[in-house]
């Protein structure tokens, strides 16, 4: 977040101050007062770049693309703007990784692969490279790294948004904030009440966020000991800098028929990032028609095989036999499979047939 600059007012002369995120001290360019940012936690907000009307448009557009017939029936309720918290923690890791590094010796040896019996009297000799462990060397390596990580301050799972944590492997699809990336355009948050939207209180404490940051940096630092055996690690995490970053999310509900649906729209890009939409049933109809056409094509062949007696054959004893039971069994299995598939598609017409954006 070093590139983020925030605007504040000098408490002495009310002149404008520009402070980089992470700074604790500045000098007012107007009155030359030396000033210190004393508040424990700095708060930043990414103001929403989309209006309520734009959110409604995004939802309707998405609905139209998923279920063109359902737009007229859908009753979209008033979207609510939520500012969800993320901790942005930076720190430095210093330490040591001790261990032993295996020492290997590589030799080339000749091996007779074939004694000549199976290849026309020729013996085949190949040269193989053999790596033998001959010992180990004691190694002491130093950890020197600094980094920052974003950690979810609130549980967003009910909205279908995975949490960012020190252990997260996946990115949050659709959001400008990621584990190591902060969005551009952050502003300092001085007064929550003066802004539109609900500011969600963080449930993850700053101590927990720092603990996760330490775990993340320790994991990165342990990479210094790659290839070592009998490893022992020690690291000091220092220079913590925390900031609370509020990210805008619009949440709206709409009803379509008897069911209600929830949609989450990114407050910065205006894209629909999570949500459920009623299915138009188009895919289901295509599969049903395909199955019907398949059977329509197969029935004349089945009838022809049954009537023409092609299933009869002469057995080894000179008598006549028929594989009609086997054939009927195969046809019955295919019919059962088709019926079962149609049953699945019928169920999809209900709840499971929704389009889910995740």
């Amino acid at each position: 977040m070093s590139g983020v600059t925030v605007a504040l007012k000098c408490p002495s002369c009310a002149g404008p101050l520009m402070i980089r995120e992470g700074d604790t001290h500045t000098v007012c360019p107007s009155c030359s007062s030396s000033l210190l940012l004393s508040s424990g936690v700095r708060k930043f907000v990414l103001p929403t770049a989309v209006s309520r009307v734009q959110v409604l448009r995004s939802v309707r557009r998405e609905l139209e693309s998923r279920n063109p017939g359902g737009v007229a029936r859908a009753r979209v309720s008033k979207p609510t703007l939520y500012y969800v918290p993320f901790w942005h923690c930076s720190a430095q890791a210093n330490g040591y990784v001790l261990g032993v590094e295996p020492v290997y010796e590589t030799r080339e040896i000749s091996v007779v692969e074939d004694d000549g019996r199976s290849s026309g009297g020729y013996a085949v000799t190949v040269t193989k490279r053999i790596k033998t462990r001959t010992g180990s060397t004691a190694v002491e390596r130093e950890i020197q790294l600094c980094g920052s990580v974003n950690i979810s301050g609130a549980d967003l799972e009910p909205l279908g948004i995975p949490s960012l944590s020190a252990d997260s492997q996946m990115s949050i699809q659709g959001l400008e904030i990621q584990r190591n990336v902060l969005p551009e355009g952050l502003e300092v948050l001085q007064d929550e009440s003066g802004r539109e939207g609900v500011f969600v209180d963080p449930v993850v404490s700053v101590a927990e966020a720092r603990s996760q940051t330490a775990r993340y940096l320790r994991r990165l630092g342990s990479g210094v000991g790659f290839g070592l055996e009998e490893k022992w690690e020690f690291s000091v995490i220092s220079g913590y800098r925390d900031a609370l970053v509020y990210y805008p999310l619009w949440v709206t509900d709409f009803r379509s028929g008897p069911r209600s649906y929830r949609v989450v729209v990114d407050g910065w890009s205006g894209r629909v990032i999570r949500g459920r939409f009623p299915s138009s049933g188009r895919d289901r109809r295509i599969i049903t028609v395909a199955a019907a056409l398949l059977w329509a094509g197969m029935i004349p062949f089945i009838a022809d095989i049954l009537i023409s007696g092609k299933l009869n054959y002469a057995d080894t004893s000179g008598g006549r036999s028929s594989c009609l039971p086997v054939f009927l069994l195969i046809v019955a299995a295919l019919a059962y499979g088709t019926w079962h598939l149609l049953g699945i598609l019928r169920n999809m017409a209900g709840k499971e047939g929704e389009h889910v954006i995740h």
């Binding site: 504040l8 408490p11 992470g22 000033l35 462990r133 060397t137 002491e140």
Partner: protein
């Protein structure tokens, strides 16, 4: 002095003489150029002792270092041989007997650690190298107006780093360390303003071969030349 606006901005003045305190944008340690007191911002302002060392010649800049005195208790220290080698040719199974581990006696000693109070990636290795040298405070001439900038490491971090330096001292002994379990009980903390000379690529501690590359010191440009964003 107690005025705080909603953004948390407070006037930064010496609690003793009221002089404006100067520092870098991320500093938490402030030296008053007027009365010579040193303050650490740690939730509130706390006074901390400051001594000047190795003032050297012209071009010297004073950089802040933490001086931490404490008792080091080593509960367990296991070292190993530098290397192990097999006398048997070819493949063999390593049983662990060749690890050559030996446990040292637990010990307790009083020790002093001096390490950068400014942000550098070489904080531990610099602390270990400074541990080998003798840093004695000097008496500053009366009226000397020394500027000490760049102290961004607070007392909590300094305690943790002191433990790291103590581990580093054990790592840098002649034997090869396998693991160590130690603790540092801090008895005194103060600031050493150590005279350093900016060279072409490094900031050299006066009277020492210890040099910190500019690239390893976060605010080196501001600390040495007063430039921002070096």
């Amino acid at each position: 002095m107690s005025f705080t606006d909603p953004s948390g901005l407070v006037p930064l003045r010496c609690r003793n003489c009221g002089n404006d305190l100067d520092g870098l944008s991320t500093d938490v340690i402030f030296h008053c150029g007027s009365c010579g007191r040193c303050w650490v911002f740690h939730g509130g302002f706390e006074q901390v002792g400051i001594r000047f060392l190795r003032s050297g010649g012209p071009g010297t800049v004073f950089l802040p270092f933490w001086k931490v005195d404490g008792t080091v208790s080593i509960y367990q220290r296991i070292s190993r041989k530098g290397s192990s080698a097999s006398i048997i040719e070819g493949f063999r199974e390593f049983t662990g007997r060749e690890r050559g581990l030996s446990e040292n006696q637990p010990e307790t000693r009083r020790d002093r650690f001096i390490f950068p109070a400014f942000s550098t990636s070489l904080v531990l290795s610099t602390g270990v190298r400074m541990h080998k040298e003798n840093f004695l405070p000097e008496k500053m001439e009366h009226g000397t107006q020394a500027v000490v900038k760049g102290g961004s490491i607070g007392p909590d971090d300094a305690s943790a780093i002191a433990r790291g330096v103590a581990v580093g001292v054990e790592v840098n002994r002649k034997d090869f360390l396998a693991c160590v379990d130690l603790d540092v009980e801090v008895s005194d903390m103060s600031i050493y303003a150590v005279g350093c000379t900016p060279e072409e690529n490094v900031i050299r501690i006066n009277g020492s071969d210890i040099g910190l590359p500019y690239a390893a010191v976060r605010d080196s440009g501001e600390m040495v030349h007063g430039e921002r964003g070096h």
